[in-house]
């Protein structure tokens, strides 16, 4: 099951050229670009691991692409990788854009669990199949 988180996730995977253009857009807006990765695809897992440092002083998307490729060398195929852009402007001080750039080859998806509670009530919860295995051995 294809993970759809962040922007563009209903589109086909972005090419490097397209990623570069999005990154340049972020840089031109003065946002700090980050590269993050995780192997826990649960939608509530908002804190992904940061690759390196946030890139505050990179002027050109090529600098970010360089780092993205470094991250891929380590995690491609085994983790999700995303690019996010942080706007430090007062009153924003939060992410402005985030999109997935790389995903594991196989995405087994999520199980929907129904828990019967309090008589006839049911609680629903999702659990990533991948999360059954320990961190680092999931994909």
């Amino acid at each position: 099951m294809r993970l759809t988180q962040g922007a563009f996730s209903f589109l086909p995977d972005l090419t490097d050229e397209q990623i570069g253009k999005q990154v340049q857009y972020c840089i031109d807006n003065g946002w700090a670009v980050n590269i993050e990765f995780t192997d826990d695809p649960h939608p509530r897992n908002t804190y992904w691991e940061l690759w390196g440092q946030p890139m505050f002083d990179v002027r050109d998307a090529a600098g970010v692409m360089f780092e993205l490729n470094e991250c891929r060398k380590t995690y491609k195929g085994r983790h999700y990788i995303r690019v996010s852009a942080f706007d430090s402007t007062h009153t924003w001080e939060s992410l402005r854009l985030s999109f997935i750039t790389d995903r594991p080859e196989e995405e087994p998806g999520f199980a929907l669990e129904r828990q019967e509670v309090d008589g006839r009530s049911i609680r629903y919860t999702t659990r990533a199949y991948a999360a059954n295995r320990p961190e680092g051995a999931r994909y």
Partner: protein
């Protein structure tokens, strides 16, 4: 990391019509290059061979982009350069202009200059160098990376030197990401030559070697004039005469740093002028404030056989 384009039918520029003929002169002015070169001629004294080389490189790039528009595939040219010359001969100043020229021609996307030396690239302990070098490279991408006194990266006497690691990363990026940044190596001619001999990888990646000659006394005087102009000062006749004598003496002294020595000498003259005006205990006119007189120059130790202050008052840039 070549971009992959999904649809093979979408080739960029496919729709741009192939022109019948391209007027290189017109391209030269419309790209804004003419203006940059004129400015270069106006603002930089002397440096004739350097300006000539820059024009040649500019012409190469113009022709190259013309070829591209005719669909003649040109491999993107190697633009990494080495600037050799003594201190203060204008290497950093020209590198800044180079960044602008390359930007105008579309060979770098942003046109900024990142100036570094060994300490910015090489770390203090194992595992420190690669991230430092990469950090700088990322910052410089889209622009020009200027490595001053590049030979310090290479310390043959210490085989465990971390400089080697920085060199390897640099070489890799210089080769694989030629579209993303231009590297300019700078330093004194003889040591650069030894550096290139010991690191053939650099020699083969650097296409343009530009040599910066020392300035003549007349040129130094003219440089002084330019610097004063930008600072809104002028010399009266006596000061001019004294300054010429100052240059002749200073050129023969050790630690002479061409343009920078001139700048420093003028800074000190300004200091003396300020003191003179302050101690005169009379109201000053606008004219007093902009004029340097002979005594502001003549008070220099150079005239009494001493050496002018060293290290320079201003850090090298």
């Amino acid at each position: 990391m070549d971009a992959v384009i999904d649809d093979p039918n979408i080739v960029p520029d496919a729709k741009a019509p192939v022109p019948g003929a391209i007027d290189l002169r017109a391209e030269f002015s419309s790209s804004g290059l003419a203006e940059v070169f004129d400015q270069l001629d106006r603002e930089l004294v002397g440096l004739v061979p350097v300006k000539q080389r820059l024009r040649e490189i500019g012409a190469l790039l113009l022709v190259d982009s013309a070829r591209k528009r005719f669909g003649l595939e040109a491999v993107s040219p190697t633009l990494h350069m080495s600037f050799t010359g003594n201190p203060g001969t204008g290497k950093t100043t020209v590198a800044l202009r180079m960044a602008e020229i390359l930007h105008r021609l579309g060979y770098v996307r942003k046109g900024h200059l990142v100036t570094v030396t060994r300490d910015d690239l090489v770390g203090q302990y194992i595992g420190h160098t690669a991230p430092k070098t990469k950090e700088i490279l990322k910052k410089a991408m889209g622009g020009v990376l200027f490595i001053d006194e590049a030979y310090y990266l290479y310390r043959p006497e210490n085989e465990r030197d971390y400089g080697q690691e920085a060199i390897e990363i640099l070489l890799q990026v210089m080769e694989n990401q030629r579209d993303d940044l231009v590297v300019i190596l700078a330093g004194y001619a003889d040591r650069m030559e030894r550096f290139f001999t010991a690191n053939p990888g650099f020699r083969s990646r650097v296409a343009h070697h530009v040599d910066f000659p020392d300035y003549s006394a007349g040129e130094l005087d003219a440089i002084g004039g330019r610097i004063l102009e930008t600072m809104n000062y002028r010399m009266d006749a006596g000061a001019q005469e004294a300054f010429r004598r100052y240059i002749d003496l200073r050129m023969l002294q050790p630690h002479f740093a061409n343009g920078r020595s001139i700048r420093n000498a003028l800074d000190r003259a300004r200091l003396r002028q300020a003191n003179r005006l302050f101690n005169a205990e009379r109201p000053v006119t606008a004219d007093d404030l902009v004029t340097l007189t002979a005594e502001d120059v003549l008070a220099s130790r150079v005239f009494s056989g001493g050496i002018d202050s060293y290290p320079p008052l201003h850090p090298s840039n």
